[in-house]
């Protein structure tokens, strides 16, 4: 029940650990994992979100997603403070597979270093990274 074909929306920024960020204004962003990440992991059966208010650091783990067989750390593409977590995933973690860029979003963050966005990849660059991976 995962999206059959790989997709990497043009309006997102990508981290090489297979995470995406959607900038909302100058100070906020939504994070999630990419199509490639959910496909590699398999069906997500558990998402362990961080606490609202927690500080997260770019390139560090801020949450865990688990499939039946494996657990993976989710890496923050940018630094900030958690302002909202996707509570709907507690009952429907499969949304991370079915709709990784919309319903399957993981956290909303107030950014502490918005210029970190400059170091992230565009959709085309991320696709190339996967092809050469």
């Amino acid at each position: 029940v995962t999206l059959a074909d790989a997709s990497y929306p043009e309006d997102l920024l990508y981290h090489d650990q297979h995470d995406w960020a959607r900038l909302e204004g100058d100070e906020h962003a939504v994070f999630g994992i990419t199509w490639y990440a959910q496909d590699s992991l398999g069906e997500v059966v558990f998402y362990d979100p961080p606490e609202v208010g927690a500080a997260i650091d770019k390139d560090s783990s801020y949450a865990e997603v688990e499939s039946v067989k494996a657990v993976s750390d989710v890496i923050a593409p940018m630094s900030g403070e958690i302002v909202e977590v996707n509570d709907a995933l507690a009952d429907a973690p499969e949304q991370i597979n079915e709709d990784p860029y919309r319903e399957g979003w993981l956290v909303k963050v107030k950014l502490t270093a918005p210029t970190e966005a400059e170091a992230l990849l565009g959709a085309e660059e991320y696709r190339k990274l996967l092809e050469n991976g």
Partner: protein, 374 residues
Amino acid sequence: LAGLSNTLPRVTDSLRRTSLYERHAELGAKLVPFAGWEMPVTYEGVREEHMAVRTHAGMFDVSHMGEVEVEGPGALGFLQRVLSNDVAAVALGGAQYSCLCAEDGGVLDDLFAYRLGGDRYLLVTNSANHAADLAWFGRWSRGFDVSVRDVADRYAMLAVQGPHARGIVAAALEIDLPPRMHVAHARVGNRPALVCGTGYTGEAGVELLIDPEIAPAIWVELLDAGVVPCGLGARDTLRLEACFHLHGNDLSPERNPIEAGLGWCCKEATGFVGAEAVTRARAEGTTERLAPFKIEGAGIPRQGNPVLVGGETVGAVASGSFSPSLEIGIGMAYLRSDLAEPGTEIEIDVRGKHRAARIASKPLYESPSSRKEK
């Protein structure tokens, strides 16, 4: 997302492939290294495959498992020496589960023995232990009039499991199936084959030992008959729900059968290698015991997670997973024997988070089809 390198190990050229490799590749299986073999871990998803076995019929390529033929006037005497169970109790066409113990009682392997003839037996070993088992048999067969042959290359092995598995196999392959815990000679794909009424899922089903050359055609026949291809991922979650041991997780040379809860397959009166140690463990009890548990809320236990009671570490998880049937975290843990009773409240330290859990009784999940069969 970190840790993907662990879930997707690099497949190297040195891995062996079963005769069904092309079928797996065609179906888009995720292939991973397993005990020196390149094996399918999943096709469409572990959860779907797991539920197919619980509700319908699934098939697993388990051709990586080893086969050893033991034949001769001394076969029974030799097997009584190396296997923990009472092999003399196995009738012609019977099957029996045993441990292979070292002198100190440590479990070197666990296996099924099938009696194919008056003094002819087939043992099915775990692939990771197959070579060591053969060396062990070589050492202990001295003085017995017996031949011990590695026949692993002679067989492909297909486990077809689930409430509808037996009906589908009998109809699709036009063969008679032996009852549970029995083995029968048959012709499959016009070649000699063995049909075993055994499995590793807690469901009814059969395990087919067939000629590797015809295995791909048989696989396709069963696929066309509606059997769902299943990988080693589902095999592991199914066996864990049924509380079947996995050597390397729940069994090891450092653990004896008594602490593993396998005293029932040890008959010390036969004088098997390790019987004295097992007698002592049975009489004196063991410091730790293997017990199944269920997580009470969120969290998925994994191998190696500490088990806590009152903040004190009392054991560790031997096998842990998400249970697709129960939709909770489940596992088996070695913990202090006085705490290994159903109902005991424990905590599992899952990467720093203490998850409430409770010792349960075996099996963690019992299928209606296996209940009916008993």
